[in-house]
Symmetry: C2
Subunit: 555 residues, 2 copies
C-alpha cells in the first residue's frame, strides 16, 4: 500500500508516520514522501525492496552512450538479413552474443533487456525507460491480453488527462499526502490567469475516473461501472533508487476502478480474483498467495459496522477463490480493507503484483452518488491485475530469459537458407512473406482487417554455413527456426526446429494435432541442442496453422 | 508548419518573425510562442483557424457541472437495459434525446460529443479531454486501424518518455524555439541534485526517436528504420483558445519518424503517400490535395544541391501518387522541404491533416550516423497520417453525425424485445451473449484469444411498446437493430434493421452474399424511417457472419 515499504509494515504505520517493532526501517525515502493516500497504483513500486538490492549489485552489461542500457554496437555488418514482418534489417551479429566479453548475467532483467534489445535508459529522462521495438511488442501484447478479457469482465476503457490542477489533488487528498512524490507542472509564459495554475502529473488514475463517473447522474441500475486505463503515470522517485524497469518514474498500470453498491462488493471481488487467476495462469507465473488486510487498530474512517460488512464480503470472496489465504490484522488502508496478491517467481522471490482495495473515502471526497429506490454513495474498488506493466515485464524477462512464449515473442520465427541458389532464395523470401502475413499477393491497396494475423518473421540469407546461422538463431532464441534448402523447394515443405519454444508438452500436442508423427530428419544433423521437441517437417499451411494455434492457446 | 498559422502563411515568415502581405494576422498567439522548429507534430493545431471560428460560435449543448461537456443527467431510470458486451447498464432515456430542450447542432463535434457520450472536458485539466468509454472505443479503433497496417509499411512501434531534461530540448532546438509552448516540470522536494533538474513535457516525439536510433551503431543495411509512437503530447495552448477536440493541450498523434539514406527518400515518400491514400479511403474522408513546399527564399540550412535532390525526389513521389499536386514556392521549413495534405470535409471545409516533412537538421543535432561503404548522416522524415487523433476524431464526428461505420461504432447492435414472455427474454439474452462474443458457454476460465471477435451489443428489454423502443434505438443510431418476439423464438431467427448503417450499397452487397434476397416483413410495420436498406431476417450464424464481414471490409 505504501511505496517502497517492506511487506510487514502496515499502511497504518505510514499514516501515523512511525514504524512499529519488526518493520524494516526505510533506507531511501524521505519521511515527507510517505503517502497516506493509496490506491491500486500504490503497490507498483512496493516490492522493489525485494528485487532492488539484487539488481543494484549487478553491473549492467555494456552501457551505451548517454547512460543507456542499450546493446553494444555490432562490430560486423551482416551480408543480408531482413525482417519481413517489420520491414527492418536485423543484423544477426551472433558472434558477439555467443561469445560476450563478460558472461551474461542470466537473471537480471536489465542485462537481458540490453541483450534482447528490449529497452534502454537515457540520462535525459531518468526512470523513464525507452522501449525498443521488441520491448514495445511485449508491452503491447500484455496490454492486448488484458484488453481481450475486459469485455468478459465488464471493463470499459477510458482515456483521461495526465495533468490536473492543484484543486483536484486537494479534493482527492493527494495534495496533502502525496504532493512530494508528484511532478509539479507549470505552463510556459503566463499569457493569462489560467496559465499560472499549478498542475501535477498524475501518479494515479483514480481522480480522473471519479470525474468520469460524476459527468452525469448515475442510476443504481448502471452499477457496477468498471473503468480501465493504461495511461502513463509519473512518480518522482529519488534518482539514486532508479533501476531498470522495476524502480521507475514513469510507468503504466493495467489500472481499473469499479464503482458499485455495497452489496455488489462480494461479487466484484470474486470476479477480480478470477481475473487474476486467469491472467496469471495464462502467463504461467506463480504460485501466489492471498492476504486480507483488515481494519487498522487505531486510525480509520467509517463505522465499525461498515468495515465488518466489507471484510465479511472479502472473506466470502476469498473463500470462493479456492486459494488459501491469510489475514494481516490491522493492515488495511485507513479508508478500507484490501486484498494483496503476492507472487512467488521461479527463483523463489516474492513480488506483490495485483491488488484489490476497497475505498469508502474517495467517492465521498468527490461527492459521487447513485440514485434509485435506495440512493447512496458507491464503493470504489481500486484494482490492478499486473500492477505496473514495466515491473511485471521485468519479472517475465527474468522468468523466460528470452525464451518467450510464441504469442508474446518478438522473435517468433526465422528462416535460414541452405546454399545460395536463386530458387532457394526466392522460395525462402516467399515463405517469409506468407508466414509473416498470410495474404494473397493481389491484395493490393486494401487495408488489412484489424483481426488479421501478423507474425514476427526474420530471415538470415547470408552465405554462411548452416551451423553458424543456426547458432546465431539459437542465441537469439527464436521460437521457431525454419530451414530452407533445395529439398524444401522441391518438396514444398519447411524443416522446423521448435527447440527454443517453452511449454514443450503443450506445443507437442498442437504439432501432433496438426500433423501426427511429423519428424524432420534434418534435426539430427544440424541440431546443437534439442530441448525436447524434435524437428518437424510441415508445409506452409500446416505451419501457419501451428502458429495460429500457438497464439490462440497463449503458448 | 507553425501552430495556429493561417494556411497561406509560410513557415519562413514565422522564422523571420513577421507576416507578409495577405497573410491573416494572428489573433491569439503571443509572438514569443511562434516556434521555428517544426515536425510532423506541428500541423496538429494548424487548421483550427478554419474550424475554430465556427465551433466557437456554437453554444455547447448543456454543460454539466465542473465545466464538462458531458450529457445531461437522465430524468427517468429505465426498467432494464444492459450492455452485454461491456457489462454496463445503459439507460435508454430516449425521450430526452428525441425531444431535446434545444435543437441539437447537427454539425458541431462538441455538441455531438456530449449527445453521443464520447468525451467531456473538466476545469481541472483544461484542454485535456476525458474520453468516455464510447469515445475511447473510437479512439482505439483508429489506433488499431493504423497498427494493423504498420507491419506492411515497415513501421515498428516504440514507447518513449513524456519528460526530458532541458539539455535534450536544447540539443533538439526546441528550447530556443518552442520553450514557451512546452509545460515546464519540476520534481517535488529536492532530495538530491537530479531532482532539481528542469524537465519539459514533450510536445513532439522526435527527440525520443533520435535517442532510440542512437542507442547503438547503425548500418546502412538497417535503413530505413521506421518508428511509430502514439504517446500523449502536451502543448501549452492559451486557455482562451481551447475548444473541444480541435484545440487542446493534450493530444495523441499517429506519429512516425523514418531514418533513411538520402537515396531512399523517394521510395519512403511514395510509400507514405500510399499509406495516406489507404487510410483516408478506409475512413471514407476526402477528397484531399497535395502541396509541395520548397526551399525558403532566404533562411535555410543545407546546400542548394541537397535541397534540389530532395525536392526532385519529392516531385517524383508526388507524380507517382496519381494525385494532382501544386507547389508552394519557398514555403518549406528551414530545415527541409515538405508535403502537406489538405483534406476537404463533407461540409467543404479544408483541414490540414497528414504531413510529410524532410529534416536534414535534427539528425545532425543528435549526431546520428550510419556506417557502411558509404557512411553518412541519415535523413529524418517526420510523418503523420491522421495527425492529431483528437482532431481527426472531431472531423469524423462531424462527418458521420453519430452514424458510425459498423467497424468503428461504439453502438453496433441493440436487441429489442417484443412482449415480456420468459421465452422471449431468455432467447434475447442468449442472442445478446452470442452476438457480443461468440463463444461456447463451456469455455470457462480460458483466456479469450487476442484475435477473438467482440462486438458492442446492447439490449432494451423494457416493458414498452416496440415503437417506443425502436425510436430510442434509432435516436441512439445503432448500426443494427435486432428485434426478437415470439415468432423469432420459434423460428430461431432475428429480424434486423440496418437503416442506420452508412455505406448502404456495400452493406447490401454483404447482406446479399450472406443470404440473397433476405427480407424482413417486420420492417414494413415497425420502421420509422428506412434509409435504403430494407429489414432482413437472418439466423444467428448469418448475423455473426455479416458482422464479421462488415468489420473486415471497414464498413
Amino acid at each position: 500500500m505504501t511505496r517502497a515499504s517492506p511487506m510487514r509494515s502496515t499502511s497504518h504505520q505510514w499514516l501515523l508516520g512511525k514504524s512499529t517493532t519488526g518493520a524494516v526501517p526505510l533506507k531511501v525515502l524521505h519521511p515527507s514522501r510517505l503517502p497516506r493516500r493509496s490506491c491500486s497504483c500504490t503497490p507498483v513500486q512496493r516490492e522493489q525492496q525485494e528485487l532492488g538490492p539484487k539488481v543494484q549489485q549487478v553491473k549492467p552489461a555494456r552501457r551505451a552512450t548517454r547512460g543507456s542500457y542499450g546493446p553494444e554496437p555490432p562490430k560486423k555488418i551482416p551480408r543480408k538479413t531482413q525482417n519481413f514482418s517489420r520491414g527492418r534489417t536485423n543484423p544477426t551479429n551472433t558472434s558477439k552474443l555467443a561469445k560476450p566479453d563478460t558472461p551474461p548475467d542470466t537473471l537480471d532483467h536489465r542485462a537481458l533487456g540490453a541483450e534482447l534489445s528490449l529497452f534502454i535508459g537515457d540520462t535525459s529522462s531518468p526512470g523513464s525507460p525507452l522501449f525498443q521495438p521488441d520491448g514495445a511488442h511485449i508491452f503491447q501484447k500484455l496490454q492486448a491480453l488484458l484488453r481481450a478479457q475486459y469485455p468478459s469482465f465488464g471493463f470499459q476503457e477510458v482515456i483521461t488527462p495526465n495533468l490536473y490542477k492543484e484543486d483536484l489533488w486537494r479534493q482527492s487528498g493527494h495534495w496533502d499526502n502525496y504532493k512530494d512524490a508528484m511532478f509539479a507542472v507549470k505552463g510556459g509564459t503566463a499569457l493569462n490567469d489560467d496559465d499560472n495554475a499549478r498542475y501535477s502529473l498524475k501518479p494515479m488514475n483514480c481522480p480522473g475516473h471519479c470525474l468520469l463517473y460524476k459527468s452525469r447522474n448515475r442510476s443504481w441500475r448502471e452499477l457496477p461501472i468498471r473503468y480501465a486505463d493504461f495511461a502513463a503515470l509519473h512518480r518522482n522517485e529519488v534518482s539514486g533508487s532508479l533501476s531498470g524497469l522495476t524502480r521507475v518514474r514513469r510507468f503504466h498500470q493495467d489500472d481499473g476502478h469499479i464503482f458499485c453498491t455495497p452489496d455488489q462488493v462480494r461479487q466484484e471481488i470474486i470476479s477480480t480474483l478470477k481475473f487474476v487467476e486467469l491472467v496469471y495462469n495464462t502467463l504461467r507465473v506463480g504460485p501466489y498467495k492471498l492476504f486480507l488486510s483488515t481494519k487498522p487498530f487505531h486510525e480509520f474512517i467509517g463505522s465499525d459496522e461498515t468495515w465488518k460488512i466489507a471484510e465479511d464480503q472479502l472473506k466470502d470472496a476469498l473463500n470462493q477463490s479456492g486459494h488459501t489465504w491469510s489475514v494481516k490484522a490491522g493492515e488495511g488502508a485507513f479508508y478500507g480493507p484490501k486484498i494483496d496478491i503476492v507472487l512467488t517467481d521461479k527463483h523463489g522471490k516474492e513480488h506483490q503484483t495485483a491488488t484489490i482495495q476497497l475505498d469508502f473515502q474517495l467517492p465521498k471526497r468527490f461527492g459521487l452518488q447513485y440514485v434509485g429506490q435506495e440512493p447512496g454513495i458507491p464503493v470504489m474498488i481500486h484494482r490492478a491485475i499486473l500492477g505496473s506493466l514495466e515491473r511485471f515485464m521485468a519479472l517475465l524477462i527474468e522468468q523466460f530469459q528470452g525464451h518467450w512464449p510464441f504469442w508474446l515473442s518478438p522473435r517468433q520465427l526465422t528462416i535460414l537458407t541452405v546454399g545460395e541458389s536463386a530458387e532457394v532464395l526466392a522460395y525462402a523470401s516467399e515463405m517469409a512473406k506468407q508466414l509473416a502475413c498470410p495474404i494473397p499477393a493481389t491484395y493490393g491497396l486494401k487495408p488489412l482487417p484489424l483481426s488479421h494475423p501478423r507474425y514476427n518473421v526474420d530471415t538470415d540469407f547470408r552465405n554462411e554455413t548452416l551451423a553458424k546461422k543456426l547458432l546465431g538463431a539459437k542465441t537469439k532464441k527464436y521460437n521457431i527456426i525454419c530451414i530452407i534448402g533445395e529439398k524444401n523447394v522441391k518438396g514444398k515443405c519447411l524443416d522446423l526446429d521448435f527447440s527454443a519454444q517453452p511449454m514443450e508438452k503443450e506445443t507437442l500436442q498442437i504439432l501432433n494435432r496438426v500433423k501426427p508423427g511429423a519428424r524432420s530428419p534434418r534435426q539430427k544433423i544440424i541440431s546443437t541442442k534439442v530441448r525436447g521437441i524434435p524437428g518437424v517437417k510441415l508445409n506452409l499451411y500446416e505451419t501457419q496453422l501451428v502458429m495460429k494455434m500457438l497464439c490462440e492457446s497463449y503458448l
